[in-house]
Symmetry: C2
């Protein structure tokens, strides 16, 4: 082990910084968890759970699969890895409290990249009201991040599961849909990212940002529980795929109304810019104009928005907007028909 000599890590590689120098540098940049009684630096963290329950989720983020270092800065990866796991806490209606971060990186990686990563984690923790309570570091040939998020509920019975949707409920979403997929399409087409000209306008730049740094609506998850949500899920695989998980768990059918889905101007602008505005829609429920934009909304993954069901007549507040209904049966339809476009994200 190489002891941290206290000098600033800027310009040094991780090999030069050493494991304990890295841990010290990270710990100095990460906010402490408000629930931590024992935080970073012991064998385990100890967190207060005054309400008698703990909500927990883990997500892996792998270089080359979930992000590319050419497109994503260390800060971007920090934000995204924290947001993905914190969104799973919000999707239970719970309040995020703490993260445990396992990080493996190549020895040659500049220490600055890891410090940027820490600043991204810190920024997303601030958005969610959480902090970092522990972690693990290792060496690997590529960057590997595993983030465990912990949270709490007023009572365990208050958890909003995937399985509580009932026929007659309305389906609503909070947070952007399709923005991450559109941003990825812009990056893939070279419209944004290294070697490309600057992104033409702020709306398109926001789509790229939505892909690189998703921004889950944490408060909306907590609000949904208070508003009586019967089921909820994080839209990580794509709206239709995730509503499918919810419908399966609840043993119900869900019908989405295409007309209730917003197609914000940046999504339409991205579809036009990428020359995708002219292909014809394959589903009669999908507007003929700009099918790419609608496909991003229906099937694009990694938005980390929230989709939930509420009893009919629930007084939805905040960003929650109705997009469909729950019926008896199974499966997900768009305007009453199976969606004919490609399915959502598939891991294998």
């Amino acid at each position: 082990m190489k002891p941290d000599d206290g000098s600033p890590p800027a310009g040094r590689s991780l090999g030069e910084l050493g494991e304990f120098g890295l841990i010290n540098a990270l710990a100095a940049r990460l906010p402490a968890s408000p629930a931590a009684i024992v935080g970073i630096g012991d064998d385990s963290a100890v967190l207060a759970a005054p309400d008698g329950n703990v909500v927990a989720a883990v997500d892996l983020l792998l270089e080359g699969r979930h992000f590319r270092r050419e497109w994503s800065s260390g800060r971007d990866v920090g934000v995204k890895s924290a947001a993905r796991s914190l969104a799973d806490i919000a999707a239970m209606g719970a309040v995020p409290t703490a993260l445990l971060i396992a990080l493996a990186v190549p020895e040659s990686l500049p220490a600055d990249w890891v410090l940027d990563f820490a600043s991204g984690v810190a920024a997303e923790c601030d958005r969610a009201g959480a902090g970092v309570a522990g972690g693990d570091t290792a060496q690997a040939d590529s960057v590997i991040v595993s983030v465990t998020a912990l949270g709490t509920l007023p009572s365990a019975a208050a958890a909003v599961r995937r399985s509580g949707a009932r026929p007659g409920d309305v389906v609503a979403v909070s947070g952007p849909l399709g923005h991450s997929a559109a941003g990825l399409a812009l990056l893939t087409a070279g419209v944004a990212g290294p070697g490309s000209t600057p992104v033409p306008d702020a709306g398109l730049a926001a789509l790229v940002a939505a892909h690189l740094r998703p921004s889950p609506p944490y408060a909306a998850g907590i609000a949904a529980a208070r508003l009586g949500a019967t089921a909820m899920i994080d839209t990580s695989d794509g709206l239709l795929a995730d509503l499918g998980h919810l419908a399966d768990a609840s043993a119900v059918a869900i019908d989405v109304s295409a007309g209730q889905l917003a197609l914000p101007e940046p999504l339409l602008a991205a579809a036009r810019l990428l020359g995708r505005g002219s292909s014809s829609a394959t589903n009669p429920g999908v507007p003929a104009a700009f099918p790419a934009a609608m496909q991003w909304v229906l099937t694009g993954g990694e938005d980390h928005a929230l989709a939930a069901t509420f009893p009919p007549g629930a007084a939805l507040a905040g960003d929650w907007r109705v997009i469909g209904v729950v019926r008896s049966g199974s499966g997900v339809t768009v305007d009453g028909e199976p969606y004919a476009g490609p399915p959502g994200w598939r891991h294998f």
Copy 2:
């Protein structure tokens, strides 16, 4: 996504099984957590924490760095990845309750490997009294495992931290020391593993098993808290390195008595077999005979035994055995002298 068609996964690759088929097959083989209110299959797990606290730790296990698939079966990797994180819970004096497992594997990996992995996780969960409450799966070029372990304490104040050792305390250990390093040396020398002749005797085979499937003394961690342990740590980096972490955190010095360290016959047999019994000791406190065995005991990593400090006169029970004393000062010595052998495991 490919739905699980319900057929047995034997003989299929993960690509054929599909992500959800894999998750279903894993879930069927993993024991549920006794604390789980919501387990595998929702966005997050929800666990009961009736004592108002949660203990949490995460560890990464990477193919090619922490294990080799030529040496470790899927079951071995399951046991080891669970044991590493569960040992961190035990090192706080806490009772393990649940694991979250993030697993990334190559698409070409046989599904049987992953099912063996699940059986290993299940076996170690049984030893610890814990279960699996959630996880994540992804595809990668090599096997990546991140295990988050959760546990509970009678009260948060009951946590045995690294920082509580006081001059005059005794230092004690529970669990084998040096066995994992000796087993690794046997594997590296080709005495065990693929292409080697069968391991000559049961004692040597047990050393190899200790490396492939560490067996942390969970009950001893809980007992240590009851016995009044002032500080505790899991011996993952090597006894002297880990006592160094404990001494640093407690701002004390620790002196280990070489004469109080057991050198079980299998360690001596391994040293003889590997031809390491004849080199001379560089430290007068280390017996001239079989320095390799003593070096494994002092510096070998990955035993996942427990080292703790207790007030003088504490009535140690079970497997706890005294190996040294806490003094004023800093650093770790062996029989009053700095140890001259190589340091413990270094990640960077």
